[in-house]
Subunit: 141 residues, 4 copies
C-alpha cells in the first residue's frame, strides 16, 4: 500500500500548494522513499551576464530536489527545514532542460543529510550539492 507512484503523486500535490515551487517550475518525474527525480527548464530569464544559468537558480533546483527527497522519509507528523546547503558548480550550464536527482544520505530522528546531482540534457554533471536538515515535530501536533 503506497508504492512509488503514490509518493510522486503526493509530492506533486505538495509542490502545487507551494507558491515558490510553482513559480520556479519544477516537474517531478519519479520518486521513491529517499530519492526524487526532477526536471526543470532553464530559460533565457535564468541567465547571468555571462549567458550561463545563474548559480542561485541551480542552488534552488538542488535544494528543492533534496528537500523533497527528505520529505519522502519524514513522517507526516514531522517537518524538516534546511539548516545548511553546499553547492559545487562543476560545469557551466546553458539554458535548456536540466535534471536533478535528490537522495537522502541518512535520515535520523533530529538530523537528515541529503545530496543532489544536477545534469544537463547531454547527461553531463553541472552541479553537485549537499545539505543538512533539522527534523522536528510539527508544531501543534
Amino acid at each position: 500500500m503506497g508504492g512509488s507512484g503514490d509518493i510522486a503523486q503526493e509530492l506533486r500535490e505538495r509542490v502545487a500548494a507551494s507558491p515558490f515551487h510553482t513559480d520556479f517550475g519544477i516537474r517531478i518525474e519519479a520518486a521513491q522513499e529517499g530519492t526524487v527525480h526532477l526536471r526543470w527548464s532553464a530559460t533565457a530569464a535564468h541567465r547571468n551576464l555571462q549567458g550561463t544559468v545563474h548559480g542561485g537558480a541551480l542552488a534552488t533546483l538542488a535544494d528543492v530536489a533534496m528537500g523533497l527527497a527528505v520529505r519522502t522519509t519524514v513522517g507526516p507528523g514531522r517537518r524538516h527545514a534546511t539548516i545548511e546547503l553546499g553547492v559545487h558548480y562543476v560545469r557551466p550550464a546553458t539554458p535548456g532542460e536540466l535534471a536533478a536527482v535528490g537522495r537522502v544520505v541518512r535520515a535520523g530522528t533530529q538530523i537528515a543529510f541529503a545530496e543532489a546531482d544536477v545534469t544537463d540534457d547531454r547527461g553531463r554533471l553541472v552541479a553537485r550539492a549537499t545539505a543538512t536538515y533539522a527534523v522536528t515535530p510539527r508544531e501543534g501536533d
Copy 2:
C-alpha cells in the same frame, strides 16, 4: 576618479543588463571596493510550504551579493564564476524586507573568496554564506 558612488552605479547598470538579476529584483544600496549592500523584498511568492522564505531564494540573494562584491575587485578584463557556494540558515525568514551584505575575503589572481550576511528588517541574522570564485581572463580579450 572612481568613488564608491561610481562603483554602485556601475553595478546597477550591470545588474540591469542581466535577466536573472532583474527578475529576482535586488536593489543595490551601496558599494565600495570589496563590499556590496543589497536590499531585497521577499514576498508571498517566495514562501515555502511552511510559510517561510525558501532556502533557494536566500541562497540566490547571498550569491548575488557575493558575486557583485567580487565584481568590484576584479578588473574589467577578467571574469569570475562561482565554483562553490555554502549557506547556513541561521533563522527562518518571513516575507518582508531583507538586507544582504557581500564582502570579499580575499581576491587572488585565480581564486576569490567571499562571504555574505542576510538580515531581516529587525536586523537579525537570517543566513550566512560563503563562496569561492574562479577568476579568469575574459575570453576574446
Copy 3:
C-alpha cells in the same frame, strides 16, 4: 561567579582530559561565553609535500576552536556534536605560530552554528571555517 577566566579554566581542564586535544597541542588563550581564542604551533611534522601546513591540521584547529566556543554556550546537561564542517583555505600557512578564534553565530536548543578564523603570526587570514552542531541532552541525564 563565573567570569571569563573561569570559562577558560574550565575549557583547559576539559581539553586536558581529551586524548585528541592533548596530542594536537592547542593552548587556550582566552574564552568568554560564545568565543574562544586558541594558539597552536604548526611544526615541520604538519607540513604536506609542498611544505605548507596540511589542510587537515587547519581543519582540526578550526573545528576545535568552534567546538569549544559552542561548549561555552551549551549547559552542562547537554552535549554537542559536529554535524557539518566547512573550511576555506584563503592563504597557504607555513610552520609557525597560528591563532584561531572560534565564535558562536547562533546557539539554539537543537542546532548551533559557529565560525572560526585562523591567522598566522603576521595576523594574515589563513583559513576561515564554519560549522553546524547538533545539541542534545546528555545520555543518561
Copy 4:
C-alpha cells in the same frame, strides 16, 4: 605502461616523503586514475571527550583521500592545493579500522572537484566530504 598498481605505488612513495601523512598513518589500498582507496586506524588517541573519533581526524582522512585522488589526475608538471573542504558527519565513529575512498568529480585545467566517503569496519557511512582544488603550474617548472 602505467597500470593501477603503478599509480598506487607512486602515491605510496609520495606519502612516505610527507611528514604529515606518515605521522597520520594512512595506508593506500588501491588507486587508479581518479580514485584512491585508503585505510586508517582510529585509535584511542583520536577520541574526543565523548569517546568518538574527533571530527578533525575524519576531515584529515577525507582530505588526504581526495587530495591523492586529484594527484592521480594532475600531471607531474602541475601542483594542486585545497581551497575548500566540506565534511558531513553522518554517524559517530568509534576507534577501529576506517576506510576512505576519494574520487575526482571533475578535474579541469585550473580547478578540480573531489568527494570522499569514510566508512567504518561494518561498512556504514561515517562521513561524506567534498573539496575544491586549485591546480597550477608547479613553480620553477
